[in-house]
């Protein structure tokens, strides 16, 4: 094995570990922190099924964002849907034989990358053009967009301009999963793409990308509006009832 292959093998194991352990820790933290009061933003569904439906609309359609601002919604939704298709397409590099759905999604996943990068570009443009958004943007906001666009463009280069040795890459990835290590192709675009992806995985649990798990724990969206019918009480608050009830 070349030192390059060793490096990327190590990098991807580390990145995967950080991503999974980091996210698991965050989710544990969020779930362990109590929500002492009923604070759904009303009007809110009164049943748990209703809450699931509301959450699904938020996660799939970005309902609140749609109410708020059609440009942010358009760019944000294009980016996320594009990314979802692109990611799903990438399952092919981790699977042999391929699931037929993964096979089916290949062309869509390929062209979804344009929607993804266009959405990102729109979001980035707003950070310069809208004074309010410019005011709230931090260096990390810009770098995050640069990182995602970098991943998108380097991937598109390999799809549409300069193909990498995809058979060898797939062997490398399957090798990572089965501990049967295979050499990694050495073209620059691929290495750039993989480095950026690993970087994204590493910063995921310590960055604003936590909005992804965060939304599921957001009390204004995940609580049912039934406070008169059901007594909702956190453990630390119930102790007060026993103390001076």
């Amino acid at each position: 094995m070349t030192s390059l292959t060793v490096f990327y093998t190590g990098l991807f194991y580390a990145a995967t570990l950080i991503l999974i352990a980091g996210l698991a820790y965050r989710i544990y933290e969020y779930s362990r922190t109590p929500a002492p009061l009923k604070i759904p933003t009303t009007p809110a569904p009164t049943t748990n099924a209703g809450v699931a439906y509301r959450m699904a609309r938020e996660v799939v359609l970005f309902e609140s964002l749609f109410k708020s601002n059609k440009w942010i919604w358009l760019f944000g939704w294009l980016f996320h849907v594009g990314l979802a298709l692109v990611l799903f397409r990438h399952v092919r590099y981790f699977q042999e034989p391929l699931w037929f759905v993964v096979e089916f999604v290949q062309p869509f996943g390929k062209y979804a990358s344009f929607a993804m990068v266009a959405g990102l570009a729109g979001l980035w443009a707003r950070r310069f053009l809208v004074d309010r958004v410019r005011y709230i943007s931090t260096p990390s906001d810009h770098l995050m967009l640069a990182l995602l666009i970098g991943i998108g463009l380097s991937g598109m280069m390999m799809s549409f301009v300069a193909h990498t040795d995809i058979v060898a890459l797939k062997a490398f990835m399957l090798g990572l999963m089965t501990f049967d290590f295979q050499p990694l192709p050495t073209d620059t675009i691929l290495l750039a793409h993989l480095t950026l992806v690993a970087l994204l995985m590493i910063i995921f649990p310590i960055s604003k990308l936590l909005h992804a798990p965060g939304i599921f724990f957001s009390p204004t969206r995940n609580q049912a509006d039934n406070p008169r019918e059901h007594r909702h009480i956190a453990n630390w608050a119930a102790a007060l009832d026993r103390k001076n009830g």
């Binding site: 569904p45 609140s64 942010i72 059901h230």
Partner: protein
């Protein structure tokens, strides 16, 4: 009204989003609470040597106790969806009044002390040390938020700035910077029983006087009972209803409704306040202590039902939190809540809003109404923020919008809504809620009222509207004060039950 020392925003046909003007509201600072006020609530009254440790300790404490704060600190992506949603931003153009920027005041400190990137590379992620300057900024801008939750409607993650403002104020209090207005009220309600500091005997006199007025006016002996043991209904209403104008007109309305329904009801001198400023300051225990007065009164008087008068934040606390805080509701499994709940009548929602009560009676044909008595009025309805986005009425989501409007339409003939995006869940706050209803914040209040005043002006011009009904004591007080700044008559605002009072026929 003296000429204001600041510019009152001008009306536009369509509300415009202003360009940011950095620091335009940085001079706003409500009075600091003095020593006795802070001492009573168990807080320091100045920044002692250990203020920073205390502030950071309290921040960590709240992060561990409130999932909202925990998640909201991490989840924001700075997308900008909320930036044009706050009435204070729209009226003042100060970028720190954009919800995301208000949140960032805390988030930058959170990042610095509670996150890895903020500890390693603060410049990269916008993290900042907690300094006295930062704390001063907190004090200013966490008292420029009315906790109305409009931003939370539009945030893709439901981030509610109110939760962050509440936490911010609790941390400020804990460090030694309390706000005079809210904290004095929290003292009065706990020592005397209501926010206005009106003692029992004075309340008794006031009610007797009102009974005389009603009888002189209608010829009917409508009663306002106080502390009646064994009454069926306990009415808990904001103390402003007892002698502020126009609030008292709605109190007369409730009394007439109870009279017409033949209800057995009472007020309580111990629980002579529906409002609960504990909500505004993010201290669960204080909010609970204030709410416990209602539980205690209900147990002592042995009432079967609890009805809440026209007050926005009070209704949020009552509807959403009373069951949690005091067991006043249903489905309690513990001795504490069972003690109260076995006494309550389970055929009715507990607590119930006076509008739910009146609307039920209207639907059952139990009230004789003459809507033409309100023909001098062309009416619109202002949805109060806490009712709109923090509570419900009736069985269906959105009942908090339809029920009060149904009542207005039943008791009056001329009604027009304001523009759709300014009512319902998107309603604009009056500008005086959440603990900012004080004269030392008048500039903030006038500017914050701008989006609502602008929407009102449009229906005044187009539909000749001359009356804005609302069901919140703070909204009523705020509008009475700020309407003249916008060229309107202060008596243009009033309660829904003020309209009921005019239309109801008693025998």
């Amino acid at each position: 009204m003296a000429a204001p020392e600041f510019e009152v925003p001008k009306f536009k046909e369509h509300l415009e989003i202003p360009n940011i003007q950095e620091g335009s509201m940085a001079h706003i600072k409500s009075f600091i609470a003095p020593q006795p006020t802070q001492e009573f609530l168990g807080y320091p009254w100045e920044l002692n040597e250990d203020w920073k440790e205390r502030a950071l300790f309290k921040m960590g404490d709240l992060l561990g106790k409130y999932r909202s704060l925990r998640v909201f600190m991490d989840a924001c992506v700075h997308c900008g969806a909320c930036t044009d949603k706050c009435h204070y931003y729209l009226g003042s153009a100060d970028p720190k009044n954009m919800p995301v920027a208000r949140q960032e005041l805390m988030r930058k400190v959170y990042r610095r002390y509670f996150t890895l990137p903020g500890k390693i590379a603060p410049w990269l992620v916008g993290a900042e040390d907690l300094t006295k300057e930062v704390l001063e900024d907190w004090y200013s801008y966490y008292h420029q938020c009315s906790e109305c939750r409009r931003c939370s409607v539009y945030c893709p993650y439901g981030i509610d700035t109110a939760e962050i403002t509440m936490a911010g104020r609790e941390i400020l209090n804990y460090a030694g910077m309390g706000q005079k207005y809210s904290n004095e009220i929290l003292g009065k309600v706990q020592k005397i029983g209501n926010n206005l500091g009106l003692p029992g005997p004075a309340l008794e006199d006031t009610l007797a006087g009102l009974e005389e007025d009603i009888e002189a006016d209608t010829g009917v002996p409508v009663k306002m009972p106080l502390d009646v043991q064994g009454a069926e209904i306990l009415l808990v209403t904001p103390s402003a209803d007892f002698f502020s104008e126009p609030h008292v007109e709605s109190l007369i309305g409730y009394a007439k409704v109870f009279h017409a329904a033949g209800a057995s009801w009472t007020l309580s001198s111990h629980a002579s306040e529906a409002g609960n400023f504990g909500l505004f300051n993010g201290n669960y225990e204080t909010m609970r202590k204030v709410a416990m007065r209602i539980r205690d009164a209900a147990l002592e008087l042995g009432v079967k039902r609890i009805i809440v008068g026209e007050c926005g934040h009070a209704w949020r606390v009552a509807y959403s939190f009373w069951n949690t805080l005091t067991g006043l509701g249903f489905d309690g499994k513990d001795p504490f809540s069972i003690e109260l709940q076995q006494q309550l009548d389970h055929r009715y929602p507990q607590p119930m809003h006076i509008c739910e009560y009146t609307w039920d009676l209207i639907q059952n044909g139990a009230l004789k109404l003459d809507p033409s008595a309100n023909d001098d009025k062309i009416i619109t309805y202002h949805d109060s923020c806490n009712v709109a986005r923090g509570s419900r009425m009736g069985d269906e989501p959105g009942g908090q919008f339809t029920i009060p409007r149904n009542i207005v339409r039943a008791v009056a003939n001329n009604y027009h809504d304001m523009a759709a995006e300014t009512i319902g869940e998107g309603t604009f706050c009056c500008g005086g809620g959440g603990g900012v209803l004080t004269d030392d914040l008048i500039e903030l209040r006038v500017k914050g009222a701008y989006p609502r005043m602008n929407a009102l002006n449009n229906v005044v011009q187009e539909e000749k509207v001359n009356f804005m009904a609302t069901i919140c004591a703070i909204c009523k007080a705020q509008f009475t004060k700020v309407l003249p700044y916008y060229g309107f008559d202060r008596s243009m605002v009033g309660g829904v039950h003020q309209l009921v009072s005019a239309a109801i026929k008693l025998d």
